[in-house]
Amino acid sequence: MSTPPDTEVIRVLLVDDHAIVRAGLRMLIGSEPGLQVVGEADGRASALDRAARLQPDIILLDLDLGGDSSLDFLPDLLANVPQGRVILLTGTRNPDEHVRAVRLGAMGVVLKEQAADVLVRAIQKVHAGEAWLDPTLTARLLTGMAPGRGAKQVDPETVKIAALTDREREVIALICEGLQNKTIGQRLFISETTVRHHLTSIFSKLGLENRLELVIYAYRHGLAQPPR
């Protein structure tokens, strides 16, 4: 008795801030049997929204979304798609970013410079439950997991602080200067709402609950200096 053909289609969500890149990916993936692009997003908000609504099998996530790192919301993205898996699609060769992406939940990392069929195979493998990582990245991850071997033990606060974006560091510095959200927004040419979003992200990353804790944390860990 023959096995029925596997007719399951892998549903893919594209997250990239460049429309031309999304169009190219849509053509590439759409031409591949068994793959289907079900949606596109160009930033954080649309990615979280479409991921929650469409429940794709695979999310192809660009690392750099117009100056914002998609790693900042990768955990939220995965929380919105419990059955979905994320493949980081990036032009950066920075292995630290790749390791960080995997630690945050990405199951694959594909460089944009790689051949198109590599991406297709990565999607298929990750959808099948495998990881798609190059051997060097795998070694870095394993070294980091082995206690006392390879990489030196890292202070957990250092890891938290490393997760902050440049913009979030600017917001922290301005809070320590004594500025309110509205004034910070004016200083950085962003809305007060955006400042609040940055603050929420900062609190989450650093495990803090309020502004006073943030100021103390910033002084203690050198993110800001008290006026002398």
Binding site: E177, G178, E209, E213, I216, P226, P227
Partner: protein
């Protein structure tokens, strides 16, 4: 000062805080001589408002020295300037309770305070903070 403290968000009502969070927050401390104004009632029953400097400040409490003694359990209002320079930095108003006191060699009374409310003061009208 009382008016500024009156509707501060309370931390004491947070019953869901996990013990390890509390420990971590206690560990979040800076040992800097931030100037502070302290208002309260001392061990003799006399009201006082004095300027002093903190020994340290954490997310839950602070420590400073006074020329007079206060009793454990006494309620204090404080305004702390989060700067070591005069007329600079953030100011925060705090309401707290004296946890313990201890005599120092310099004759002053060391006071450990746990605060349950705080508010940042962004206006410049507050005049009695050093």
């Amino acid at each position: 000062m009382d008016r500024l403290i009156s509707d501060l968000p309370t931390l004491a009502n947070r019953t869901t805080t996990l013990s390890h969070d509390v420990e971590r927050r206690h560990g979040l401390r800076v040992d800097l001589p931030f100037p502070a104004t302290v208002r309260g009632i001392d061990a003799t029953g006399e009201r006082f408002t004095v300027n002093t400097q903190l020994d340290n400040l954490s997310a839950c409490g602070l420590y400073f020295r006074l020329e007079r003694t206060v009793e454990p359990g006494a309620h204090l209002l404080l305004v702390v300037r989060l700067a070591t320079a005069p007329n600079a930095g953030l100011r925060v108003a705090l309401r707290g309770t004296v946890l313990r006191t201890e005599a120092h060699d310099d004759g002053r009374c060391g006071v450990a305070v746990a605060f349950d409310r705080h508010r940042f003061l962004y206006v410049s009208a507050f005049v009695d903070c050093p």
